[in-house]
Amino acid sequence: MFGHSDLPLNRDASARFLPWIIGFMTYLCVIAVAAGLTVDRVAERWRQGLAGNLTVELPFPAELETEKRAEQLDQAMELVADTPGVTGATVLEDHQIAALLEPWLGPDAGQLDVPLPTMIAVTRRTDAVIDLAGLKTKLRQIVPDAEVDDHGDWVADALGFLRSLQALAGALSALALGAAALTVIFVTRTGLATHRGVIEVVHLIGAPDRYIARQFQAQALKLGILGGVVGLGFGAATVLGIGRLIAFSLDAANPGLAFDFRLLPWQWVVLGALPLVVALLAMFTARRTVLRSLAKML
């Protein structure tokens, strides 16, 4: 009996239209959510890679002998390693510094006959608060011009920027879902208006509201899944494509700095669930619209 449908909903123009709009909205949603997730990964890495780390610069006077220099470096390393919260410290080799400077000084930065400051990369526990001023004072007792930099301001700004991007992605997803729901409401209302005569008759013959709602919600679920899957397909292709493109461009530009923009497996699962979310949204929106409209209409 329920396989039987009194309303020719699948012959309405909306049957061909709705999947496209839902597909487009799902597409936007997939892109926005993927962007949000990627930004999340980037932000995480920045926080761990930069906010987590300190850099200690030891600009030894040029006239200092190598022996003395090594001794002072050892003292500094010990001091740093003993500071509470620090988990590791490495002296950066000249070529590592050169790599950092390469975009600015060209590929031969390493071979330049330029004395670079000795630098120590310090890793720390993310939650640890380190007394930077104290550390600096102590270091200056060893090397007078020593500097400690936690890149704090810069990272905070950059993270703030990334968070804004994420908020934007979130807003776009919400907008897309909202537009999808709005479209379903419209299509359902149009359907109710188009088939008003039939609905009235079916009602007068004794069909309850849910008998009619069932036909609309089944249709919305069907079209929602169709549109959602199409949107996910195009969306996933775009996400992969853009990821590849960015990776390629950044890699070509700065081989040393390239980020990994690929999404993690669980992030793909999140994206894969979007069509389902959209389809269920469509279904419940349709059901609610029908029941509310019928209560007003008849």
Partner: protein, 254 residues
Amino acid sequence: MILFDGVAVQYSAGPPILHDVTFTLAPGSFHFLVGRSGAGKSSMLKVLYLGLRPTRGTVSLFGRDVASLNRAEMPALRRRIGVVFQDFRLIEHLSTFDNVALPLRIAGVREAEIKKHVTELLSWVGLKDHLDALPPTLSGGQQQRVSIARAVIARPSLLLADEPTGNVDDVIGLRLMYLFEELNRLGTTVVIATHNDTLVSRFSHRQLRIEDGSIRVFDPRPMTAYPSPQGTMGAPAATGGPPTGPVRRPGAAQ
């Protein structure tokens, strides 16, 4: 069965259509509803099939005060009422068969039974060759007959027919009247709104006459002998009488 007490009907914008209507229709009775065009016949029927709430007064159907019904209770009540609309209101994308089967499907009758009864009834009203036709491809008179078949297929407790013979010739008109009388004999209360004076005078049933917004019951029987319907119209020999619908009466489920 049907009880009107001081009922008034008025559409939001406009003068009152009916006022101070009080009458009782006994279960199993047969009434014509007559009056000039625009008198309020269709409005009266609309009140009876719960399509219009009276402005004032009490309407009671099957022993229930209509005003006290909530939305969820209406479908069950409506399934006990069969309506032939003046403008047919067939479902355009469903075949003749499916249109007539609809009340049975909504009531949950088995497909095998549906097939048997619908086919039988449609043959009787002369639409055997149009089972699969869509309403827009039927002639006016054919549509009217489909609409009548849909109203009677579930053997309603109450049958309301609005001008059911306006688009058919006299031969078919008599045949349809015979169907209504057969249903009435099986216990259905029947109310037929019509302009067809020939029909009204030929069948001397009680009349509800609408004049100037009030209703008067008029009984022609004390004056004329009650004619046997069979005698008047000649039941078709082939089927031996109109079909009587499915045995399980959907309305009885409640």
